[in-house]
Amino acid sequence: MAIKKTTKSNLITIAILIIIYIVCQILIATGSMSNLMKGLLVPLCYYSIMAVSLNLTVGILGELSLGHAGFMCIGAFASSFFSKTMVDVIGNTFIRFTLAIIIGALSAALFGMIIGVAVLRLRGDYLAIVTLAFGEIIKNVINVLYIGIDRNGLHFSMQDSMSLNLLEDGEAILNGPRGITGTPKNATFTIAIILLILTYVIITNLVNSRSGRAIMAIRDNRIAAETMGIPITRFKILAFSISAGLAGVAGVLYSHNISTLTATPKNFGYNMSIMILVFVVLGGIGNLRGSIIAAVILTLLPEYLRFMQDYRMLIYAVVLIALMIFNWNPTCIQWRENHSLKNYLPMFFKKEKEGL
């Protein structure tokens, strides 16, 4: 019975995502969607993927990771590099982009595994600090990497783009702090929403599987889990690298949605990692649907507050605090329960009212 309930809940989430997708497509087709919103559709999907995948680490595995943006960064750069070099070789956009997604996910998962082996021996605060450091290291290493390509093959340097010694026909693809420019813009809303649904399915399936129960057992009581014979490190690394790989997918969408890719503190620094963590905490730790909703609301908010001009970020912070209190303060939860219309009206009608 319990399993059935979760399956139902998962199907509802997927159905909602599909409905939103259809509504958006209708709005676009009839020309009634604003340009701002059209431009935000893909970002909303990749931020949701980020939030859902971090929820796997924070909510399901129960470890605090502050370096999630680092994995996004790896996925973004690896896939962008691939697309840029292969743009003339593989003409078919679909095949190229699919490969790019796989490459982004695998390289991020690989780094997740490498970092996981080193890091997951630590617990609690220490783990948080080390993941934070790894996130920064990834960003800084990419900022000193120069990779170019010419007819002799690839050239690497950590000095500057001149020491690549490229031939006349060569091109510096990854140009240190200037990053990669001119990634083909392949990410569409359709692909993004499919990836989001896929991410959701992967994580819910993992959670409801044998491995998932083992992971949650580790979270709930490490010693008991170990006594039961659960290989702790293995499951921790499994969860951590899946989470990293999915963040890599978000990175692929990010880099293929914007033509310039640089690893700045703004987009791949710890600020971003913490922002993703905020999505997770606000949406509810361990609650995947909540993560998506929080990611959507908190990404839209600063854009829709643009009319506030200089007060935009101030209002954003205030709204964030208010939302946190509204969501998690016991008094607020009590109040919402008391004022719920569920008791009086049919369920579906109630939904309409509550939101108003």
Binding site: M33, L36, G176, I258
Partner: protein, 387 residues
Amino acid sequence: MKMKRMFGLLLVLSLVVASFAACGTKEGGSGGNDKFYIGGMGPLTGDAASYGLHVKWSAEIAVEEINAAGGINGKQIEFRFEDDEHDPEKAVNAYNNLKDWGLQVVMGAVTSGPSVAVAEETKNDNMFMITPSGSAPAVVKYDNAFQVCFSDPNQGSASAKYISDKGLATKVAVIYDSSEVYSSGIYEKFASEAKNSNFEIVAAEAFTADSKSDFAVQLQKAKDSGAELVFLPIYYQQAVLILTQANDMGYKPIFFGCDGLDGILGVENFDTALAEDVMLLTPFAADAQDEKTQNFVAKFKEAHNEVPNQFGADAYDAIYILKEALEAGNVTPDMSTSDITEALKKEITQLNFDGLTGAGMTWKATGEVNKEPKAVIIKDGAYTLFD
């Protein structure tokens, strides 16, 4: 319980989705406009905020002047500037938001990364874009984008040529910010140009955004290598520290910089005596004696109690360049965005524009500006033209 809360949130979500539809009705800037809708985006918050603010304020001054004098072809300008937080992703959002407002011409973005991202979008929409200060070459990759400032490689080669032609030094050290697009762009071109010059680079020391407070190591290396001139293709915030630390070390080479050094005299608690004899290639000097500059600087100071920097001057010019090109093409605001773009693309290559940042500015179809760099030297705490 949990389900219920989720439903509530979902409903909020669907309402938000519904609201997009509501505000989506005011679409596009094509047809029926009685005003020119010019918009820009730049960092108004965060580290690079001073650049964005100066661009915004200066452009507003120019728009006010033009509107007071009767507008462009008799039509007023509506100007709006959005925050992009120095982030390409946010810059695209800002651009889309401006499009909903009715944007016809882009005057932005302020920094390079966002400019590249916005250029990609304007290309798709065929919208004319002139960036006051996005100096990376990738910004003007497409035919609809133009620059007011020098491109980074141009500054690098101009600096190398200047040092070489004037015989300022035979041994040159460079201190640059390898994590900054602007700085490394200039440095690389400078270094490759130096190979054909009569000086040699004896030390090239980099620092990054994470280590930009102590320059003792870099300065010591420059000193040990016997460099007579230190080239600083960096922003003035770090240059101030370098000058102070070099003075403490008793190292007194010639310091030579690019337009990023502009603003150095306005730094609080900085002893401007240390900047004495510093040379910089900049298209704009706030205390130039011509009437245009003085008028602009006076208005800017009055409104914002600050001395405008080169970014501001570029933005002020950008608005006037748009005005001249729009007038030359007899463009009216009720034309479609695409027609305006085509007209501007044609007219700007025929302009010969005299502005704050240079006289006789011309553009090729590639989008790069052609203007003379001015070398100024700081004497008694003020810029003096150096020749």
